[in-house]
């Protein structure tokens, strides 16, 4: 009984050296009050230290030449298309709002409907084009910077975002370029922060990343 209680203390402490010299390298030396002599807690037939069996549960079989996550180029079309569609949706909603506001004084009639529909399609198209071209610039800069650096990390994201902001507002003079660059820096910085939030706050797993 005494030896058992001693052994259970050692087992709870997780040290293998105290109780018996049977299995000093295993982390648990007893299982349910019964001392293990030469057996592993995982299985009585396992005579290898389980710490030597490295099991990376994230291993996938990849064809030759493929890398684990999608590169920027493969994600580019999806990003651009998604931005176009989002822009179209947002612009349609905005056009509806504007159309309703401007035709407030009209009675419900065909001209009013036609005017509202025109506002919706124009705003939808305009926002879709803007967001799509922003996404296109971001993707082009991202791919170019990645190829130039040869490495892929968040600096690429932030730099591409900044350059996009600068180029997008390049028609408004130096002040416009500066403001656009700051906006791009802030947005892409926030996105990079969001991607790495778990990493920064110290938890072990980081969320899956889309660039």
């Amino acid at each position: 009984m005494d030896s058992n209680s001693q052994g259970s203390g050692a087992g709870k402490g997780g040290l293998g050296g105290l109780f018996g010299g049977g299995a000093p390298e295993y982390s648990n030396t007893e299982l349910a009050g019964v001392p293990l002599t030469g057996m592993s807690p995982l299985s009585p037939y396992l005579n290898v230290d389980p710490r030597y069996l490295v099991q990376d549960t994230d291993e996938f079989i990849l064809p030759t030449g493929a890398n684990k996550t999608r590169g920027r180029f493969e994600l580019a079309f999806f990003t651009i298309g998604g931005s176009c569609i989002t822009g179209a949706a947002l612009g349609a909603v905005n056009g509806l709002r504007m159309g309703l506001k401007e035709t407030r004084d009209m009675a419900w009639s065909k001209p009013r409907n036609v005017q509202i529909i025109n506002m919706v399609t124009r705003q939808g198209a305009s926002w879709a084009n803007s967001l799509g071209s922003v996404a296109l610039l971001y993707s082009v800069f991202g791919v170019a910077i990645e190829k130039a650096r040869g490495a892929e990390d968040d600096i690429n994201t932030v730099a591409a975002g900044t350059l996009t902001g600068m180029l997008f507002k390049s028609g408004s003079g130096v002040k416009g370029v500066a403001r656009g660059g700051l906006a791009g820096l802030a947005l892409s910085g926030a996105y990079a922060l969001y991607n790495n939030w778990d990493h920064i706050t110290g938890s072990s797993s980081s969320s899956s990343r889309l660039y």
């Binding site: 064809p63 030449g65 493929a66 580019a76 079309f77 999806f78 990003t79 651009i80 298309g81 998604g82 931005s83 176009c84 569609i85 198209a125 879709a128 084009n129 803007s130 799509g132 071209s133 996404a135 296109l136 390049s170 028609g171």
Partner: protein, 172 residues
Amino acid sequence: MEEYAREPCPWRIVDDCGGAFTMGAIGGGVFQSIKGFRNAPAGVGHRLRGSANAVRIRAPQIGGSFAVWGGLFSTIDCGLVRLRGKEDPWNSITSGALTGAILAARSGPLTMMGSAMMGGILLALIEGFGILLTRYTAQQFQNPVPFVEDPSQLPPKDGGQQQQQQEAKGQF
């Protein structure tokens, strides 16, 4: 080159929309830059500014109309795949025709028919080209025809076989 992998159907629409926007924006950007360059007043500064302005204003619009075409085409294509339960060139040709028709809907039935025919013929050309290319590149993987001996050259069937069998037994 890596294997070409298309997304499954709902996401394929977004991908095609993005791809079409890219093609339209970059192609339109190139053309508009040249056009803006040529239509600007003399002097390199003016010309470059004119070129940049033209690109900035027109390239997203051209990209947008390509994106609408691509997105609508892909949506109808995915719908047909879902309806028919198979993927073949007829889906693409029909989708092209329907896309052309829908995008010309505001201009009346006759224009819709014309636009549908143009879309269908364009897609038929593209698909036909694709099929020819597949057949041509598949030829290099064909197995060669196995060499057939002239049957009259073989030794007579019964006597030759018995002799060969006795020889084989004698060896062991």
